[in-house]
Structures are given as structure tokens and as C-alpha cells.
């Protein structure tokens, strides 16, 4: 491939910049930038009045470190492979929607999986019509690993497999399933627990295990498969590792949770009394204020690690689920007078709180 300009009467495009931009999108698993380069309004198009070399498109270019990376150089060579390059230039010249080069799109999908960008990978595989089979490959690997007791591999496999799920019922067009924990957490806590044992964390341990798997993997089917493949102790170990995989900052949350539990413990009896005297719960607010010497809103604020002002319980829950998705499994709604807050809650006879470092020291 020539490195000088690819030109027509109207416009010259620096081929080297173009090749590097495409290679960068592929290596980053960035399907948005990759598609953008080929869209009808792309600056790389002959028909576009924009200059591809303009500074505003510098974000498409690799930095020096990336250019030196062997992986990048390998992808760049793929881009510059004569047939592929000819196809790319032909598509950018044609006045019609481009046909993306499949080998590059496939590599992009694989790179997206490697980078944990599962929705990008799902879109790329879907466009190549490989998504369902690739997803099945990962499901098979994950199930085999789980059956063999290789939990880390099973966790990685199920995370990738469920990350490649597509929502064909999305409107108006199908979309990848997105890890929208903030929305799912709200749905999970949609009904106020009339009795403490109705709240999510107070479910039977095996039920909580199932709820947690469905919520964290975003897939009832995967949760059902895990339930059929592994017995309860293996599922607990799986879930513990899954929590850390989904939320690498979990230890920081667990520490705040323990602190908040310490505060709660100080007036647990009073809370239970107030619950028994439902309808007179104004007394609970007073008692909490007496105990804490402050606004009870500090409970959710301590869980979250920051204050949201006069926010409602659901705002705290959404923020918490966004920052620490598994946290939504260990909190419950609690009415205090006319307001509600979220408070830590767990069953001490279940294996998860202890394994996840949520139990305060005695």
C-alpha cells in the first residue's frame, strides 16, 4: 500500500492516518468508531466536506504507545493487507452504505470480548451472524468449567456468554442486553417489604443465591443452568467470585457496609419495635435521630460513601447499584415516618454475607 495520499479530483485523504484509525478502532474493540469511519458522513468518505486530517478527528488516531504495541502492528498489517485495503478504499469511494470488511469486524469483536466490552462484541458478532454460536461456545466452556470445579474459568465464561446476549424485543430495533443494574435494582426493590423477611436480603439463602445469579448475570437462563450444574456450596463460591469480578471495588463497599451495620446495630431493637408498631413509625425517626444525633439519611449516605442531599431512597439505590451492583442484594427499604431510606440488611445464617466480608466484627 502506498503511504502517500489517496486522492481524487476533489479530496485527498492521508492513507496512513486512515489505516491507523481503522486499526485503532479494531484493537480497541470500538464498534462505534469503526462504523463511524464508514458511515456516509464520515470524513474518510470522498463525498464528505470534512477533512479526515482535521484536529477534531485526532481522537481516532493511536498514541505513540499504542503504535509501538505488537498487537496494534499486527492489526495494522491486517488493515493494509492488499485485498482488504482495496475493499476499504472502494467502499469509502462508493456513494452507498459501506460493506464492512468481515475479517476486521471479526477481530474487533474478539478484541471487544478481551476488553470486557461485551455489548460492542455482541453487536459485531450479530452483524457477522455469529453471535448466537459464539455465545453458545462460551456457555459450553463455562458449564464444563463449572462441572469441573474450575470456578474462575466458569465465572469468566458465564460473564462473557451472558454479556453477548441480545434483546430482540427492544424497540424499535434489537439491541445488546446492557448491564443496567441501576434499573434492575429498582425493579428488584419495587415492592415495599411489608415484613422484614419479604426484603431481598432476607430471602431463604438458596433463593437469595438464585436472585443474585439472575441479577448479576442479567440472565435467568444462565442462573438456571448454574443451579442445575452446581450444588449449593459451589454456587456460593461462584457467586463470591462473580461479585468481585462484577465489582472490583467491592472491598471498599464492604468496609462501608460494616460501618453502617455498626450504626444500625445501635438501634436495631428500636427499629424492630417500630416495625411491630407500624402506623406509629414517626417514633422510629425520633429514635434514630436520638441514636445517631443526626439525620437518618446518613445511613444510605454512608453506604454510598457520599451524600446526595435530600435524595429519595431510590436515588440512593440507583447510585449504589451503579457504583457497586451487588450491593443492591444486601440492602432493604425502610420507612421512617413519611420518608423511606435504604438500610443494610442480611441474614446471618446465610453463607453470602460472611463470605463477602459484610459482617461487622462482634
Amino acid at each position: 500500500m502506498a503511504t502517500n495520499a489517496h486522492s481524487t479530483e476533489d479530496k485527498a485523504i492521508d492513507q496512513d492516518l486512515l489505516a491507523k484509525a481503522i486499526a485503532r478502532a479494531v484493537i480497541d474493540g470500538d464498534i462505534v468508531n469503526f462504523r463511524f469511519i464508514f458511515t456516509p458522513l464520515s470524513p474518510a468518505r470522498q463525498e464528505s466536506p470534512e477533512a479526515f486530517e482535521d484536529r477534531k478527528y485526532a481522537y481516532l488516531q493511536p498514541d505513540a504507545d499504542m503504535e509501538a504495541d505488537p498487537g496494534f502492528r499486527e492489526v495494522l498489517a491486517m488493515v493494509k493487507e492488499p485485498d482488504t485495503w482495496r475493499h476499504i478504499l472502494g467502499e469509502l469511494d462508493a456513494r452507498r452504505p459501506a460493506r464492512l470488511p468481515a475479517p476486521l469486524l471479526l477481530r474487533l469483536a474478539d478484541q471487544a470480548v478481551r476488553g470486557g466490552k461485551y455489548t460492542a462484541a455482541a453487536q459485531a458478532y450479530e452483524q457477522l451472524r455469529l453471535r448466537a454460536r459464539m455465545q453458545q461456545l462460551f456457555f459450553d466452556e463455562a458449564r464444563d468449567a463449572l462441572a469441573a470445579g474450575d470456578i474462575p474459568r466458569a465465572v469468566a465464561g458465564y460473564r462473557i456468554a451472558t454479556g453477548l446476549e441480545y434483546n430482540y424485543a427492544a424497540f424499535p430495533e434489537p439491541l445488546p442486553v446492557v448491564p443496567d443494574y441501576q434499573r434492575r435494582a429498582l425493579m428488584m426493590h419495587g415492592d415495599y417489604p411489608e415484613r422484614p423477611e419479604d426484603s431481598i436480603p432476607m430471602q431463604e439463602p438458596t433463593t437469595l443465591l438464585r436472585t443474585a445469579l439472575e441479577y448479576l448475570l442479567l440472565s435467568p437462563e444462565a442462573a438456571a443452568q448454574i443451579e442445575q450444574t452446581a450444588d449449593a456450596p459451589v454456587r456460593v463460591e461462584f457467586l463470591v467470585q462473580l461479585v468481585h469480578a462484577v465489582d472490583p471495588q467491592w472491598p471498599a463497599f464492604a468496609e462501608r457496609y460494616r460501618e453502617t451495620c455498626g450504626l444500625m446495630r445501635a438501634y436495631q431493637e428500636r427499629i424492630e419495635h417500630a416495625i411491630a408498631q407500624r402506623g406509629q413509625s414517626r417514633g422510629l425517626a425520633d429514635e434514630i435521630e436520638d441514636t445517631l444525633g443526626a439525620d437518618p439519611e446518613q445511613l444510605p449516605a454512608r453506604l454510598l460513601g457520599r451524600e446526595l442531599g435530600k435524595a429519595e431512597w431510590w436515588q440512593y439505590l440507583k447510585e449504589l447499584a451503579s457504583a457497586h451492583p451487588p450491593a443492591a442484594l444486601f440492602v432493604a427499604r425502610q420507612a421512617i415516618g413519611a420518608r423511606e431510606i435504604i438500610v443494610p440488611r442480611y441474614r446471618s445464617d446465610g453463607p453470602l454475607p460472611e463470605r463477602l466480608g459484610l459482617l461487622p466484627s462482634p
Binding site: H87, P97, R99, R129, L130, F138, Y168, A169, A245
Partner: protein, 202 residues
């Protein structure tokens, strides 16, 4: 034909009838199958997954009756279905031969396919649920309808995917896939994920 018409919903097959079945047979078979389905539902332990499955099965039977029992609807459905199957074949032949006609055919096919699936899946199934005969036989009500929207959209798209699978690639060149190679790549990606996760935790 089994391969070529996969994805174009066949209401005759849903009722186990031939395309020349008389309206009386349509009604008889619909009633019989609906009764069987209701008995099956009453005996099953209902989970979220089974609820969706039964709702879809009920909607399919209802729509089969609604579309096939009425002569005008039946004619419109079968004509459009046959025309689409033939259009798909023409487009595929043109695309294979590299004809200039391929692109206009593709556009026409795409438009008519979407119209067909929308009209004879979502619209037919929802309209069927408001038909008095259907309500009487299936006890379909507004609660069913509310739950059905999402399930029907998913079903329509699954059929679209079935058709798409055998069509020429349009927005991307055709990938050359070795599934042995893909399996090796998947395993390698899993190895990398496991090792990077171990690094992060340590």
C-alpha cells in the same frame, strides 16, 4: 421448501392443516388445540419462562384461527407469504449472479418482509385477542395483551433472524469461519480473562 419458508409464519402448520382446509376445519382444529393447551397450562407449574411460552402458544393459535377463518384475511396472508418467498428467491439469485437488480430487490424484500411480519404476527395476534370467538375460547383479556407485546416483538424478531441467516450478506462482507478455530479463539480469550482477573484480585 422446509428450509426456504422457515421464518415465514405458517398458520396452517400451527393448526396442523393443509392450505386447502375449509373454515369449518379451521374452527374445529383451533378449538381442539386451544382446549389441549388450556389443560396443559392448568397442569403446569407456572414459572416466568413458562408463562411467556404459554402466552406465545396461545397467541399463535388465536392468530391462526383469526387469520385463516376469515376468507379475506386468509387470502391476503397466503398471497403475501407466497409472494415474499418468491421475492426472496429472486433476490438471492440476483445477488449470487451479481446483477444490478439485486439491490432494488433487496430493498423491496426488506420492506415487504418487515410489513408482513408486523402485520401477521404482532398485529394479527393482538387483533385476534380482541375477537369475540377467540375471547370465548381462550379467555384472552387485556392482561394477556399487556404482557404479550414484548413477547410478540421478540418472536417477530426471532423469525426475522431465521430468514436473515440464509440471506446474502449486505452490510458486511461474508466472513469465512472455521468453527474449530473459533473454539480455540474462545478458549484463548477465556484463559486471558481468567489470568487478568487473577491479576486484578492479587
Amino acid at each position: 421448501m422446509a428450509q426456504q419458508d422457515a421464518g415465514y409464519i405458517n398458520y396452517f402448520s400451527i393448526l396442523g392443516l393443509n392450505p386447502d382446509a375449509k373454515p369449518g376445519e379451521v374452527r374445529k382444529e383451533y378449538r381442539r388445540r386451544m382446549k389441549e393447551l388450556i389443560v396443559e397450562i392448568s397442569r403446569a407449574e407456572i414459572t416466568e419462562e413458562r408463562r411467556s411460552h404459554f402466552l406465545l402458544e396461545m397467541a399463535k393459535l388465536n392468530a391462526a384461527y383469526y387469520v385463516l377463518w376469515n376468507g379475506e384475511r386468509r387470502e391476503a396472508y397466503w398471497t403475501e407469504r407466497s409472494a415474499l418467498i418468491s421475492l426472496e428467491e429472486r433476490w438471492r439469485d440476483a445477488a449470487k449472479a451479481g446483477d444490478a437488480e439485486a439491490e432494488p430487490l433487496r430493498r423491496e424484500f426488506e420492506r415487504r418482509l418487515r410489513d408482513f411480519l408486523t402485520k401477521f404476527i404482532e398485529e394479527a395476534m393482538i387483533s385476534a385477542g380482541r375477537d369475540k370467538d377467540v375471547i370465548e375460547e381462550s379467555n384472552w383479556d387485556m392482561a394477556h395483551e399487556r404482557h404479550a407485546f414484548r413477547i410478540l416483538r421478540h418472536y417477530r424478531q426471532s423469525l426475522y433472524q431465521q430468514i436473515l441467516e440464509r440471506l446474502p450478506y449486505v452490510d458486511v462482507t461474508e466472513p469465512k469461519i472455521s468453527w474449530d478455530e473459533r473454539r480455540r479463539v474462545a478458549r484463548a480469550m477465556l484463559d486471558e480473562a481468567v489470568s487478568s482477573s487473577a491479576d486484578a484480585r492479587s
